[in-house]
């Protein structure tokens, strides 16, 4: 009876590629983002993080 709720996907060609693609994409984005923040110099980050505080607002 389990055939009604399981194994729907097994007949799809190369179904395994979907989870693999998901994993590779995630890992890739994570590595690239990490690489970026690890190689960014301090001055840039400081400029960016001051942006909300640097408007003409009387905060």
């Amino acid at each position: 009876m389990l055939k009604f709720i399981k194994h729907h996907m097994t007949s799809i060609h190369d179904i395994g590629i979907y989870p693999v693609a998901a994993f590779v994409l995630f890992l890739g984005i994570f590595i690239v983002a990490s690489w970026y923040i690890l190689t960014t110099e301090r001055s840039r980050i400081e400029h960016m993080e001051q942006l909300p505080l640097s408007d003409n607002d009387n905060a």
């Binding site: 729907h8 799809i12 990490s34 980050i45 993080e49 942006l51 909300p52 505080l53 408007d55 905060a59």
Partner: protein, 710 residues
Amino acid sequence: MIERFQYDNKIVKAFLMATIVFGIVGMLVGLTVAFQLVIPSWNVHEWLTFGRLRPLHTNAIIFAFVGNGMFAGIYYSLQRLLKARMFSDGLSWLHFWGWQLIIVAAAITLPLGITTSKEYAELEWPIDVAITLVWVVFGINMFGTILKRRERHLYVAVWFYIATWVTVAMLHIVNSMAMPVTLFKSYSWYAGVQDALVQWWYGHNAVAFFLTTPYLGLMYYFMPKAANRPVYSYKLSIIHFWALIFIYIWAGPHHLLYSSLPDWAQSLGTVFSIMLIAPSWGGMLNGLLTLRGAWDRVRDEPVLKFMVVAITAYGMSTLEGPLLSTKFLNSISHFTDWTIAHVHVGGLGWNGFLTFGMIYWLVPRMWGTKLYSKGLANAHFWIGTLGIIFYAIPLYFAGFTQSLMWKQFTPDGYLVYKNFLDTVLQIKYAYWLRGLGGTLFLVGALLMVYNVWKTIASGKLIANEDAEAPALEKNYAGESGGYWHRVIERRPIMMLVLSLILVAIGGIIEIVPTFLIKSNVPTIAQVKPYTPLELHGRDIYIMEGCYTCHSQMVRPFRSETERYGEYSKAGEFIYDHPFQWGSKRTGPDLHREGGKYPDSWHYYHMFDPTSMSAGSLMPAYPHMYENTIDKEVIPAKIRAMQKLGVPYEEGYDQKAVADLEAQAQEIVARLKKDGIEANPDLDIIALIAYLQRLGTDIKKQPDTQVVQAQ
């Protein structure tokens, strides 16, 4: 060269006022439905029953309260982060009035029963089109502002706004695809399993990209403002952004665990949900740690109090969400009030409190004055916090209690609580307490209304705030050794495209297999399209919002097959445009309802539910005994279904009404045997036909035969 310009505060004011007004309205409707659950007589009119008002509550809170709050915050912060006035005042006002008109249209159509029944996407197709147009106006206005900015680099809050815009556009369009029947009625393009997957891909990401990402953008702007110090770690915010938007889009199937959705997609949803803890908590810590060394200021600054609780609530609900996505906890929590408690920690805590904090911060500044009363704001904070606690904790108890009662067996292997109603009456106390919590939260919000009113009265709106900034160099060469991400920070359009690609990949990989599946779902030979009368009855079921309290998904647990019958199979839903699996059981599952009771039982029950089950909390539907079946639209309904691939024979639309009348006569004859004289043209007859059909197809032959389609 220094340029002088003015920030537009008038549009921010308009969105702020709309936030407050619709916030109060949305909470009032929420309170009404909360009490309707314990006092069924509060379902006073056909237009005001629980099933029609609950979608109004969720839509009002999500799109009117949080939506307007989001726009107020974005219009304020975007101008200042980019050092530019909004691209076009005309577009700003078109956006504002367009959005309010959509809200008004929702407030009229939902009580009238004009609904698609897809949760948080209930609005019918003409309103969906209007939403798309207004969203495009908002997008042009935002990107126009970004293009004429005077600050070269885009702060992380702006990335969150861009991701919000692009993803909501994609979700809304894909999920709203429907075949119109009339101006106020349409059928979803998708059916059954596929419709469920698209809907919860949307539903989950509406939470992610309408309630979360824009508010994270606001957090990254207003938290440093209120604390008067930069965000704890800007680097962490970059990781937070990319990881969050990428992971979120995959997690939708966790709403369908143990359903007829393929195992593969269920597991994918679980894995990505667990992974979500990392960026969510990264973001929460980043927000809270912004207060490093300034915690003492939280004591006397109500704005910070609201923000700290908001961010903590964000952390709590984003830990709870992934935990509820595990199959073990989901098997306990799903369909119970646990889910309701979970979403309200997010809704009241995260969205509500962040909005309140933002309002208390913005109003004195925009009106050039001081907050009328810090004491009142503090009172609001404490009453609101108590409200959240009184709301959530009883419902956690209720969810757990009810779920365990559903699953409890006697030593002989029978259900202890065979009558579903027993498990509802057991938790009625929690519904009362939840009403108290909601009342407290509303009282707090009313204090805010008064406080804001008095503050505004003591100042004058700075409608156009003067500002100055150097213009951007025309021919910018870029810094030497620039990294790719800096290029993105300078190129908003590239940012837009990259975010779109990222979320679209997630969506496509998740959804494509279910489109392929169409030819792979084991088709069950006996499953046939609905008869015209049943189809009309199904539309009444949708119109009354029955799905807000009844599921149609028997999960493969012994406690459910024992109570309801055979578990639900994907092949049984192939003609369900839209699917009606539901997400909450305040009443029992109805997928195997067909044939369980005689027609006369339903006839009495719908007129007065307590006549058949004493103490029932279900609303009565006397109007179904007055309203008659609109036979004129039946052929159009059949034709729409045919276009969607439902195999009615060629030209059946012309025979449909005759079939409908014949079937109605059969039901009337059966009712007559039980001593009921009924008019065959009444809506109730169609509803009975639908209810009696539910889940019966697979019982037609003793050995269920499986054929592979195509």
